[in-house]
Every structure is written in structure tokens, then in C-alpha cells.
């Protein structure tokens, strides 16, 4: 088991290195990086100063070295707008995004898994068709539009829920739903197909041959096996949620890292943008690692294979 973790950790490190390299190269290769890395409204002299300060005239690998060493020391630059180190800013906003993503994920699983199971058990009947429609809608409606329409209904027309900001559970409902909606559909689809596959397996057949009650066949034998791919996907989706929440957070003015990214673009605060992308990617790498390990814990086959 330990070897397994170490190996996975190694892969993660390589991915992170490649990620930082990609970001670095993109900034350097497109146009004049100084323009991005300097505050808006700077003069030509300022540009020159920044260029030499950041060593933009030095060879690329030297620059990369400087970039990486800064990174590893936790220095991701300073926000032009907030005048604080970006990392600090990011970490202060992160919990809000995690809260939103957590709520959205919970919603998506609470809706997605049961509907998926019912659709599979009642395959091709009414429930299944309803489920398919739900899935199609979920995957086709942009999350921010769902959010906007919800605001229209619940804030403007009905006046039940606040349209922006955070602080109470009421503030959380709409953004969580808007964000989770798409994923609920994705999870439902995966649960359904996974469940169908499991229901056709030999061990489920044997469970029925044993004469076990149908509830036990589905609840014990089918359920656990079917959930494995769904939970894997959910784990990965959680971090994806955090990252794509940018639009939902903007719509609802939710103070998370998504909104931070939006502010970064709106105020041309490039260090913020760069750091958000970098950290977002890093998060995904780590979550993939975590999910791989978790998978090994749940499924004994993986543990012993390595």
C-alpha cells in the first residue's frame, strides 16, 4: 500500500511541475509579459523598470528557475488591486468556495444518485425516461443561466431568497443549486449506467439465485459496486466545481476564488489571474491523487494488486 501511495505522489509531482511550466510558458510566449505583469496605467518607464526587475531579458530557463523558486517559497506575486500577496488573498477566499462547492456537491449527489438508481432499476419505464430528460436538461443548461433564472424567480418575483452575497444558509441555496445542477445530471447518468452494468453482473445473478430479498440484492450487492465509479467522479468533480464556480460566484457575488478570478480580469490584476489558474490546477492534481488512494481503500483489489 505504501508503495502505491509513493508512486502516485511521484506522478502528482510531475504533473505539478508540468503545470507550472505550462503557465509560465504561456505568459512568456504571448506578447510582452511586462504589459501583463505591470499595473494598469503604467508609463513606459515603469514598463522598462518591470522588465529589468523581473529579469525578462534573461534567458528563459533562468526566468523559469526564478519563477519556480518564488513559487515554492509561496510567493505568487502581489495583487495590484488589493495590494496584498496573492496567496494570502487566495487562501482567505478559498473556504467560501469550498463551502459552495461542498453544498453543490452534496446536492448533486443527493439528487443524482437516487435518481440514477431508480432509473436503472426501473429501466425503460417512466422513471427512466423522466431521468433521461432531467439529465439532458442538466447537461445542456449553462449553470450561470440557471442561477440568473433562479434569481428572477426567487428573489425578484417571489422575494424569498437574497440575490447576492453570503452569510446565511439562505444565501447558499441558490448558488449551490445553480452550481450543482449540471453535476447532478452527470452523476445521475453515471450512476444509472454503472448500476445497469452491475445489475447484469454474474454476482448479482448469484445473489438472486441464492434467494436473497430483492432489496438486499440491490442495496448490498449492486449498490456498493455501482457507487465506485460515481464517487471517483464526484471526488474529481468537487475540485472542478471549485474552479468552474467562477461564473456562478460572479452571478451571486459569492466571495470565493471564482469571484476573485473575475475581479482579476475585471481590474486587470494579472498576478491574481495567474495564481488562481496555477493553484486551481494544483488542487485538481492533489484531488486526483487523493481519490486514487481512496479508491484503493474502498476496493480491496487495488490494494493487493500493487
Amino acid at each position: 500500500m505504501k508503495r502505491f501511495i509513493v508512486k502516485r505522489l511521484g506522478y502528482a509531482m510531475v504533473s505539478l511541475a508540468l503545470l507550472s511550466l505550462t503557465i509560465f510558458l504561456f505568459v512568456r510566449l504571448t506578447g510582452d509579459p511586462a504589459v501583463l505583469l505591470v499595473e494598469p496605467g503604467a508609463s513606459k518607464a515603469d514598463l522598462e523598470q518591470i522588465r529589468s526587475q523581473l529579469g525578462l531579458d534573461r534567458p528563459i530557463w533562468v526566468q523559469y528557475g526564478a519563477f519556480m523558486s518564488n513559487l515554492l517559497r509561496g510567493d505568487l506575486g502581489q495583487s495590484f488591486y488589493y495590494r496584498t500577496p496573492v496567496l494570502e488573498l487566495y487562501l482567505s477566499r478559498l473556504p467560501n468556495s469550498l463551502l459552495l462547492a461542498g453544498a453543490a456537491m452534496a446536492l448533486s449527489l443527493l439528487i443524482g444518485i437516487p435518481t440514477g438508481i431508480i432509473a436503472a432499476v426501473r429501466v425503460n419505464q417512466w422513471w427512466d425516461s423522466a431521468g433521461k430528460i432531467f439529465a439532458l436538461l442538466g447537461l445542456s443548461l449553462p449553470s450561470f443561466w440557471v442561477g440568473l433564472v433562479m434569481i428572477l424567480f426567487f428573489s425578484v418575483y417571489l422575494g424569498w431568497l437574497p440575490s447576492s452575497g453570503s452569510g446565511t444558509a439562505l444565501h447558499l441555496i441558490m448558488p449551490a443549486f445553480a452550481l450543482g445542477w449540471y453535476f447532478a445530471a452527470a452523476h445521475m447518468r453515471l450512476t444509472r449506467s454503472s448500476m445497469l452494468e452491475v445489475l447484469g453482473s454474474e454476482y448479482v445473478k448469484l445473489a438472486r439465485i441464492k434467494g436473497l430479498p430483492e432489496a438486499l440484492v440491490i442495496g448490498k450487492h449492486a449498490f456498493k459496486n455501482a457507487l465506485i465509479p460515481v464517487l471517483t467522479l464526484a471526488g474529481i468533480n468537487l475540485v472542478i466545481m471549485v474552479n468552474v464556480a467562477v461564473v456562478v460566484e460572479t452571478v451571486f457575488a459569492w466571495p470565493g476564488i471564482g469571484r476573485l478570478l473575475y475581479e482579476g480580469i475585471a481590474f486587470r490584476d494579472f498576478p491574481v489571474v495567474q495564481a488562481t489558474v496555477l493553484l486551481g490546477g494544483a488542487m485538481i492534481v492533489f484531488v486526483n491523487l487523493f481519490v486514487d488512494v481512496l479508491y484503493a481503500v474502498i476496493d480491496p483489489r487495488i490494494r493487493y494488486d500493487r
Binding site: N124, S201, E202, Y203, K205, L206, A207, R208, I209, K210, G211, L212, P213, L216, H221, K224, N225, I298, D299, P300, R301, Y304
Partner: protein
């Protein structure tokens, strides 16, 4: 003593979702089985033998329909039972062993858990008791160190051991009938004989009736008292093993027996049966076997033969059945 299992004129058809195509997977099948007897059901893939086995447990896919017949087990027609009552039969009175033991066992649960399940479901055994009984069951199927094995997972066992475990599950509630669907097909050759001996011992010890589904005539010769040959969903011949092997009444049976390669054979070429098994949804008129039959007559092309008795307990669906020809002897080694 009335037979343990009596099947009369059973018909199972598969219907496509739109009701457009009807495939008769099992058609006009009748046979009976006494307690403690071993019946072999032989046929190519697609002959209907697996459908027949699943029918006995009423575990057919949604597309399948029972269209005729009755299945009397211990005096009761299984087709008339409610779902709840049928569930009490499965695993407890009639058990089944599937072909692939790796796929039959749930990878996420321990052996002990899975072996003890029927006991907990049917006999309401407590967890502790089921666990203990599982250990004993593993011991009775000759698995070494059952105390340790019981806590392990399926993927940690070898194929032969897994199949024994599936056997243990089968006998756990002391059923009267055990259906074995190609139980040795996925085992190594060296393990097969061991496993067959184990089944024989279990049968003697528990007084089981055994239905052996296989395509291997050698196993039939070794294990079975009676044999039934299936072709295109019908039972084309059934009777005592020795009689059928000595003098098969149906050309298909004859061809099967002759196609077994023998060392003593002077011929160079292997005998194969010409042609392909028929498409069940588009069966030819008359006898289903006539396109491939070396003895086909005009009558065979027009009229499907009924089950014609040849001698007591032995019958065949062939117009020529009244004059059975002796087949080459095959040794029951």
C-alpha cells in the same frame, strides 16, 4: 415415489421490446428427475440449455416469457408461486452453480460474508452463527485453512478454490436439487476431475439431485445417470446415459458422439457436424435439424417429429427413432 422435478411441455419465448420478433428459446421440453439422480443436459451454445436452467429458478430476463407448460418441483408447480414463495425456493430448495466463479463472487465482500448469506436469508441465522457455518461449509468442500479463508476476498483465491466456494454456497441450505451450469468450463484441466469428484461426494453426502449442464460428453459419461440432448430449444433425445451412448436414437446425438476424437480411430480427419446451428428466430419448417442431418427424409422437411419412445425412459424426436443405430462405444473414463 413421484419424481422430485417434473417438467411438462415447457415453453419459453423471448420477445423483443417492440413485440416484433419472437424467439422460442425453449420449446415443448419435458423431462423428470428423481431425488438423488444426476441428469446431464447437453447441447451447443444457443441450444437453450442455459435458458432452461434459469427457467427452473424463474430468473429470466424481462424479455423472456413463459408461454406454456408446468414445472413441478416437490409436487408444486413453480410457475404458480408468488414472487415471495419463489424466493424461498431459490437457494434453499433449488440451488445453482454458475460457470465463472470469479464473476459470481462479489469482489467487495469477504468469502465468509458471501457464503453465509443464504443462511442468514433463509434460516435467519445470526451473523456469528452464519460465519461459523461458513467455515464448516468451506471445510466440507475441502478448502484448506478455512478459518483464514473465510476472512479473505475472492480475488485472493485460485480459480479452483473459487468454484469450490460457489459449490459451498450452493449446498449451504441443504437443497434437494443443484443445477450446475458448465461448472468446470473455466477450470484448468487438472482441477476439473477433482471438482467433479467433489460434486459427486457432495451429492452422496446430501442426497442431492443434480442437473449438469455441459457441452462435454465425457463429463456426462462420467457423472450422469441420464442425459438429455438439446437442439434449437428442443429436447431431441433423453434417456439413460449408457443406452444413449450405446445406441443413440437421434442423428444429432449420434453426430455428437462420433465427433469425439479417439486415439484408436483409423480415420485421419476429425468428424464435424456440417452446417451451423439454426437461428432460433427463423427456424426451418419441420425438424429443426434436417438441414444438417445425413439421414434427412422428405417427411423431416415438412413435419417436426414428436417425442417418440424408443424404450422405457428413452425417447427421441426423430422419425427414424424406432430403428436406433448403434454408435461406436465410448469408454467412460
Amino acid at each position: 415415489m413421484s419424481p422430485l422435478l417434473e417438467i411438462r411441455n415447457l415453453g419459453v419465448h423471448y420477445v423483443t421490446a417492440r413485440g416484433t420478433r419472437v424467439t422460442p428459446a425453449v420449446d415443448e421440453v419435458s423431462f423428470s428427475l428423481d431425488a438423488g439422480e444426476t441428469l446431464g443436459i447437453v447441447g451447443e451454445s444457443g441450444s437453450g440449455k442455459t435458458t432452461l436452467a434459469l427457467s427452473l429458478l424463474r430468473l429470466l430476463p424481462t424479455a423472456a416469457r413463459f408461454v406454456s407448460g408446468e414445472m413441478r418441483f416437490e409436487g408444486r408447480d413453480l410457475l404458480t408461486l408468488s414472487d415471495k414463495e419463489m424466493r424461498k425456493v431459490r437457494g434453499k430448495r433449488i440451488a445453482m452453480i454458475l460457470q465463472d466463479p470469479m464473476a459470481s463472487l462479489n469482489p467487495l465482500f469477504t468469502i465468509g460474508n458471501q457464503v453465509g448469506e443464504p443462511l442468514r436469508a433463509h434460516e435467519h441465522a445470526s451473523r456469528k452463527s452464519a460465519w461459523a457455518q461458513a467455515r464448516e461449509l468451506l471445510r466440507s468442500v475441502k478448502i484448506p485453512a478455512p478459518e483464514a479463508r473465510v476472512k479473505e476476498y475472492p480475488h485472493q483465491m485460485s480459480g479452483g478454490m473459487r468454484q469450490r466456494i460457489v459449490g459451498a454456497i450452493g449446498i449451504s441450505c441443504e437443497p434437494r436439487l443443484l443445477i450446475a451450469d458448465e461448472p468446470t468450463t473455466s477450470l484448468d484441466l487438472t482441477i476439473q476431475a477433482q471438482y467433479l469428484n467433489l460434486l459427486r461426494d457432495l451429492q452422496k453426502a446430501h442426497g442431492l439431485a443434480l442437473i449438469f449442464i455441459t457441452h462435454n460428453l465425457g463429463i456426462v459419461a462420467k457423472m450422469c445417470d441420464r442425459v438429455a440432448v438439446m437442439y434449437a430449444g428442443r429436447m431431441v433425445e433423453s434417456g439413460p446415459v449408457k443406452e444413449i451412448f450405446d445406441a443413440p436414437a437421434h442423428p444429432y446425438t449420434r453426430a455428437l458422439l462420433e465427433s469425439i476424437p479417439r486415439m484408436s480411430d483409423s480415420r485421419r480427419r476429425l468428424t464435424a457436424i456440417e452446417g451451423q446451428p439454426p437461428d432460433l428466430s427463423a427456424l426451418p419448417v419441420g425438424c429443426a435439424f434436417h438441414p444438417r442431418c445425413p439421414d434427412a427424409m422428405d417427411r423431416c422437411r415438412e413435419e417436426a417429429p414428436p417425442d417418440i419412445p424408443v424404450s422405457p425412459g428413452h425417447s427421441g424426436r426423430c422419425w427414424l427413432a424406432v430403428h436406433p443405430e448403434p454408435a461406436r462405444r465410448i469408454s467412460s473414463a
